[in-house]
């Protein structure tokens, strides 16, 4: 009862806002939201959701905090950058201080075809805070397959765009952009155009507003438009979103889950869609393991399906079986690859130090080291590695072969037994 009264006080100004009211607030408290990406947009979106009183927030991000993030990624501070904390971990810690009521599940992971389904399994809404087209198209596929509304947002320079795509009402992102639009095809990003914080916040605010409408049952208030906004040369434009494309596998008719989508779309505001679509197909225990009661443990939990090879585009083949996929991340001189998950961070620390690397960050989530030549290697606990500052993919492969392949280990072992 005390908790009830406290909630009433806490959200009183939001409840007083007529379209939300007490009922809308209750719906928020019962809602589950997935925020993909905890960069500029994602961190802002997560904060909007948690402050508004969303009952459960699931946050996933593949990156860690760096100084160059701080001008626009408002959840993080210098300490997070100094510690090189994964964004999901740093964000979860901050969000828990914002609200002890919300259940916050944080995952340090790259969203791909293996884990996207389980991440989206039991949520009412997905908020897009990603930084690349490939992941957005994947989210669109998963959301339209499961009938989950997706709030797209993108930002670069001083402009951004956003749209809430509702399965059954609108066509999917794949239809808007073309079926197989490759990533890195010149769509402007923060790395090519730079970015200013006000543009981020404008887009995040518009995304959050649509999310609140959807989650509180204010379906008739949804914009139903594709909106572009420029915070510098002030301009706002919007266009009506098209209906589903009949021939499309994801948003059109005749696809396996179309009936489920329509059923779900009937639910005013999409909340309480008791979607038993979730959980049954992967039997993961992530949900239980990652309850808000034990914040320290959560980012360490691997997502279900993490043991299979990554299926990502922009890959380079390598002779080394361990580094079958070298992925270019978002055009910012970062390559990503998967290592053998069986090797612990402590073991990696030993190996890299042996190989002459300087360890520049070492926490329970990741290890960061500087190579002799000055490139950075970041290894996450789940076995994912980033190679930064290598420039060319050939050099990144060299770094992999030299420092991260079994070859390294053999050399280290040979030294340690005195050969």
């Amino acid at each position: 009862m005390l908790r009830e009264a406290e909630a009433e006080e806490r959200y009183s100004r939001q409840i007083r806002f007529a379209p939300i009211g007490a009922q809308g607030q209750r719906r928020l408290g019962e809602a589950s939201v997935l925020v993909v990406g905890a960069g500029a947009l994602g961190a802002s979106l997560a904060q909007h959701m948690v402050r508004a009183g969303v009952g459960r927030l699931r946050l996933v991000d593949r990156d860690y905090v760096e100084l160059s993030n701080l001008h626009r990624q408002t959840l993080y501070d210098e300490e997070d950058a100094a510690e090189a904390l994964p964004k999901a971990v740093a964000a979860a810690a901050k969000l828990r201080r914002v609200s002890g009521r919300a259940r916050i599940e944080a995952f340090v992971a790259d969203v791909d075809r293996r884990n996207a389904e389980s991440l989206a399994a039991d949520v009412d809404l997905v908020l897009d805070g990603t930084d690349n087209t490939a992941t957005r198209l994947l989210l669109s596929d998963v959301c339209f397959g499961r009938g989950i509304p997706l709030v797209y947002g993108g930002v670069a320079g001083s402009e951004g765009m956003t749209a809430l795509l509702v399965p059954g009402d609108h066509c999917c992102l794949r239809c808007l952009l073309g079926a197989d639009e490759p990533d890195g095809d010149g769509a402007p990003t923060c790395d090519t155009l730079g970015v200013i914080s006000p543009a981020v916040e404008m887009v995040a605010a518009l995304q959050a507003a649509e999310a609140l409408k959807a989650l509180t049952g204010n379906r008739s208030a949804l914009r139903g438009t594709w909106l572009t906004v420029d915070a510098w040369h002030f301009a706002v434009k919007e266009w009506k979103l098209p209906p589903p494309v009949e021939a499309c596998l994801y948003c059109g008719w005749g696809e396996p889950t179309a009936a489920a989508n329509r059923e779900l779309a009937k639910h005013e505001g999409f909340v309480h869609a008791e979607d038993d679509l979730s959980r049954e197909d992967h039997g993961d225990t992530a949900d239980e393991d990652l309850s808000g009661d034990e914040p320290e443990s959560e980012a360490e939990n691997a997502l279900p399906g993490d043991d299979s090879e990554a299926e990502t585009e922009n890959t380079l083949s390598s002779d080394d079986s361990e580094a079958e996929k070298l992925v270019v991340l978002c055009g910012r001189d970062t390559f990503q690859l998967m290592l053998k998950p069986s090797v612990s961070l402590a073991e990696w620390r030993r190996r890299l130090a042996e190989a002459g690397c300087a360890i520049t960050a070492d926490n329970r989530y990741l290890l960061r080291a500087s190579t002799v030549e000055g490139e950075r290697i970041v290894i996450f606990a789940e076995g994912r590695a980033l190679i930064q500052g290598a420039g060319e993919s050939e050099r990144a492969l060299d770094i992999y072969r030299h420092y991260l392949s079994d070859e390294t280990r053999r050399r280290a072992d040979e030294r340690s037994v005195g050969f």
């Binding site: 960069g39 239809c175 790395d191």
Partner: protein
């Protein structure tokens, strides 16, 4: 003349058809109605008088940006600074007229058989008259060539040809159906109490045929067939707004427009008149005159 000659509605003077009204008054009405080429035909007046008439007419047609053609007399055309001359089969040969008039003035010639049409094309005529399609008081005694010759010309002749002879609002459709895309009328226009509205009605019929054909060509004919058809269609071009700028385009669909801007392989969202158009539908989304298109690059950062 700038650019290749083209026109749709050819009007010829005929003072005997409008007693009580001046030639200038009647031709002004025809021009207001949309006549886009005018010929001075006067078999009676002495040359000195003819030159005066041509000068006055030239002044009028120039106001409308419409060429003035003088029937039969290259010297009169030159003296009045008219835009060209129209010859009969028994007049000066085309080559001789070209020598007198130089390369820039228009030379047209009446033809009554396909052989004459071919010869005119070879000799460098800028256009030919095809007729008389129907029996006419303007050329008494000459046998009508019927729409069969119109169809022949349509299939074979590459320079502009204009159907002439007894053409009225009532039979214009028939001539257009045979393949004509330019019509000439004399008595039906200048003999009518309201030349302006006759011109308007005729133009409307011509435009309806030209546009309908435009839309059908790319969709219904394989490219190879379309290319072998005679050059007798006006290229359809529409005015539209692209990303806030006024543009003209021959693109018939959103996909063709995107191709013009080299956007096919890019992550671009297209908006037409206030609504986003899914990528797959660009090819089947026609562009209408006056429409507004926005192409926006998909913003990828986050």
């Amino acid at each position: 003349m700038s650019g290749p000659l083209d026109f749709k509605l050819y009007v010829i003077t005929g003072e005997n058809y409008h007693p009580g009204r001046s030639m200038m008054e009647v031709m002004a009405a025809a021009l207001r109605g949309g006549a886009d080429i005018v010929q001075l035909r006067d078999k009676e007046s002495p040359k000195r008088e003819l030159i005066e008439k041509a000068k006055r007419l030239k002044e009028l047609t120039a106001k409308y940006g419409v060429p003035l053609i003088v029937n039969d007399h290259p010297d009169v055309a030159l003296a009045a600074d008219a835009d060209g001359v129209h010859l009969g089969q028994d007049d000066l040969p085309i080559e001789a007229a070209r020598e007198l008039l130089g390369p820039r003035r228009i030379i047209g010639i009446s033809t009554h058989r396909i052989e004459q049409a071919r010869a005119a094309e070879r000799a460098g005529a800028d256009y030919i008259g095809v007729g008389p399609v129907y029996p006419t008081g303007t050329k008494p005694g000459r046998q009508a060539v019927t729409t069969a010759y119109v169809a022949q010309a349509a299939a074979e002749i590459r320079i502009p040809f204009v159907a002439i002879g007894g053409i009225t609002e009532a039979n214009a459709e028939e001539v257009l159906r045979a393949g004509a895309r330019r019509l000439c009328a004399v008595s039906a226009i200048v003999g009518h109490a309201d030349p302006e509205s006759v011109c308007r009605n005729l133009l409307e019929k011509i435009n309806a045929w030209s546009l309908g054909e435009q839309a059908a060509v790319p969709a219904s004919l394989p490219i190879s067939v379309a290319q072998t058809l005679p050059e007798r269609r006006d290229v359809r071009e529409i005015a539209l707004t692209v990303n806030g700028r006024s543009e003209r385009t021959q693109a018939a669909t959103l996909l063709e427009l995107a191709a013009q801007y080299k956007l096919e392989g890019r992550s671009v969202v297209a908006d037409l008149d206030g609504a986003v158009v899914p990528r797959q539908l660009w090819g089947e989304t026609p562009l209408q005159g006056g429409c507004s298109v926005e192409f926006v690059h998909f913003v990828g950062g986050g």
